[in-house]
């Protein structure tokens, strides 16, 4: 009843959930690195862009789909480890503002390298397009990719939760996120923890790249940039200092993006970004410490 009133249909709802799931993964990827390095990685979108280009090239070269996806994972992981080695590592200990501007520079750099190498028109990533076909679920047609995105995101988050709570590496990461110096004094190996965070963050970027490229079909050098800005806003909205809050923030903004995109009348859909960012500003003003955080200072960050 309410759904019909808002011009909201089940497929729109599903695509909102799907986008929310992908954004939640990206939020975790950004949040993990922030937890251990205190660095907001603006270049996260360019990791996704690189992964999407890898997929597009994979299908152009006639790779089977599993090989394209593997190639995408390889490229994204290699790039994130490289980024950590070349940029994040030398910047460790600098002020947060310097690190933020530096990742902004890396994002700009990677985007322009892609522009130089692949041109502004981009490549089509058609191999996985079959996933846009709908499934008939009880008389409602829902795109396969929407279901797959939701399930994959939930699975990834569950595995991460188990990793963080049930393994020594997870314990070390949580300790490092709470207090890096004390954790080191107690024998946590800084480099291993940081590499772990960077690699998991890269894995999530690769998964997001696969999901997003199915929905967008054409990969251009600015692929993922707008999504990253929204996710960053979502992460800060949710509360960067708590992992669950950051994830929920990412999910919320993705969900809002998907729903509003489907609900807005066609002649107003170009104002979707304005609407979303206006909501971001309002929420930030009301809850500057995050929507999903409670008071108290000693909180875990990963």
């Amino acid at each position: 009843m309410i759904l019909a009133f808002l011009n909201l249909t089940w497929p729109t709802f599903a695509s909102g959930l799907a986008l929310g799931g992908v954004y939640a993964l990206m939020a975790v990827g950004i949040g993990l690195v922030f937890g251990v390095l205190r660095l907001v990685n603006f270049a996260y979108g360019q990791l996704i862009m690189a992964g999407a280009f890898a997929l597009a090239f994979g299908s152009q070269w006639g790779f089977p789909n599993w090989a394209s996806i593997l190639f995408c994972f390889g490229v994204v992981l290699a790039l994130s480890v490289l980024m950590d080695w070349l940029v994040f590592r030398p910047l460790r200990g600098h002020s947060p503002a310097v690190m933020l501007v530096a990742t902004f520079a890396v994002a700009f750099l990677l985007q322009n390298i892609a522009l130089l190498a692949f041109g502004p028109l981009g490549k089509s990533a058609g191999a996985l397009a079959i996933l846009n076909a709908p499934w008939d679920i009880g008389g409602v047609f829902i795109k396969k990719i929407a279901v797959i995105s939701v399930v994959t995101a939930a699975g990834c988050l569950l595995i991460l939760q188990l990793l963080l709570t049930r393994t020594p590496l997870g314990l070390h990461m949580r300790a490092a996120a709470m207090d890096f110096r004390t954790a080191r004094l107690l024998g946590v190996r800084a480099n291993r923890v940081i590499s772990g965070a960077v690699i998991i963050s890269g894995l999530f970027a690769a998964v997001s790249a696969v999901m997003l490229s199915v929905q967008e079909l054409t990969v251009v050098p600015t692929f993922g940039t707008q999504d990253t800005i929204l996710v960053l806003a979502g992460v800060v909205l949710g509360g960067l200092t708590r992992p669950v809050a950051a994830t929920l923030g990412g999910f919320s903004i993705g969900f809002a993006n998907g729903i509003l995109g489907g609900v807005l009348p066609a002649d107003q859909s170009q104002y979707l970004p304005s609407l979303l960012f206006a909501m971001v500003i309002i929420v930030l003003l009301v809850r500057p410490d995050g929507l999903f955080t409670r008071g108290g200072s000693a909180v875990e960050r990963v």
């Binding site: 947060p96 310097v98 902004f104 750099l109 130089l116 806003a233 800060v236 960012f277 003003l285």
Partner: protein, 345 residues
């Protein structure tokens, strides 16, 4: 005495601008475009510096004020008969209103300042990442509106038919106005109070400084200068909403940070140096002669060089080329003398 010692702080940036302008007069009109562009970038970067440098708070939103200034000055100066061609959807009262070059620049500054004030009223309560994201949101909203709102401008099209009144003198005088105002501001008690909040917010607040009010004032002033710079920019070349977005935000931030965010000299040096390098590589896409050796690079190299340069400077010299210091003459009394004097008393 103090005046003599302090004078170079303003004179050196001013001379750098004049030098750029004079070089621009000496070269061919094809190359002059790069010098004009550099002078306008100096204005934008100095506007950005006024807030970021003095407050120590990053803003990703200043290009919105540049864009609003450009739109203001552009809409009000396109000749009336051209308006219906360039901007068919323009609101009626804007079609019939026309002003001259100087008035359009003043209005651009006024609107830029008013917009910045309206934005800063709520946003300056935020700090840290929340503030950064909120200014980003302002940039996204402004860009989205200017791109699709045809009642206030050309929408997706380029801003053509704006009289190109930004010649070398207008560009140089504009940049000088920005530099003088920014210097005057940072020498007033308000500027000093804001700098105190940058160094130690808690201590500054304890001495009775309202961080919110000082940031509000600086943000508004810097928005006004940014609007003014936007006016200069639209009188220089046909702008597009897409060109006043992330790329320009990045390039101008890079100039502030690479030059040294802590000083006015840093902003001017950063803008001139980086825009010089950027222009060189842009010119090199059509081939340039370097000591008799022809250099041709693919387009896009300029951006890549800029990105690499910025990362390297941030890693090696996080305080920028100038280290955040103003220009000062070598001290006449070396430290050894000072210690001797101290020992005798």
């Amino acid at each position: 005495m103090n005046l003599v010692r302090r004078a170079p702080e303003l004179l050196v940036p001013a001379l750098l601008i004049l030098g750029t302008a004079l070089l621009g007069l000496a070269v061919s009109s094809y190359l002059q475009a790069y010098f004009l562009d550099t002078l306008v970038k100096v204005s934008i970067v100095v506007a950005l510096y006024l807030f970021i440098g003095n407050s120590g708070v990053l803003s990703f939103g200043h290009i919105s004020f540049v864009a609003l200034g450009a739109w203001t000055a552009g809409v009000l100066t396109v000749p009336e008969d051209q308006k219906r061609v360039v901007m068919p959807g323009l609101a009626h009262f804007l079609v019939t209103t026309n002003v001259g070059n100087i008035v359009s620049l003043a209005l651009a500054a006024a609107l830029g300042g008013a917009f910045a004030f309206a934005v800063a009223l709520p946003l300056m309560r935020l700090s840290g990442l929340a503030a950064g994201i909120a200014t980003f949101a302002v940039l996204e909203i402004t860009n989205n509106m200017l791109t699709y709102e045809q009642r206030i401008g050309p929408g997706l099209n380029a801003f053509s038919s704006v009289p190109s009144t930004t010649g070398i003198w207008q560009a140089a005088i504009g940049a000088l106005i920005c530099v003088v105002l920014a210097y005057a501001y940072q020498r007033t008690r308000f500027g000093r109070m804001l700098r105190a909040t940058r160094e130690d917010p808690a201590a500054a607040a304890a001495t009775g400084i309202s961080i919110y009010r000082q940031r509000l004032l600086a943000f508004t002033l810097s928005g006004a200068l940014a609007g003014f710079a936007g006016g200069l920019y639209v009188h220089l070349q046909p702008l597009q909403a897409g060109g006043l977005h992330l790329d320009l935000t990045f390039i101008t931030l890079a100039m502030v940070v690479v030059g040294g965010a802590g000083s006015l000299l840093g902003a001017v040096v950063g803008a001139i140096a980086l825009n010089g390098i950027y222009s060189f590589f842009q010119a090199a896409t059509n081939g340039v002669d370097v000591f008799g050796w022809n250099l041709t690079v693919p387009s896009g190299t300029a951006e890549i060089v800029l990105g690499v340069l910025m990362v390297v400077v941030l890693i090696l010299r996080p305080d920028g080329i100038t280290g955040g210091r103003e220009f000062s003459l070598p001290r006449r009394r070396p430290v050894a003398d000072l210690e001797k004097a101290r020992a005798t008393t």
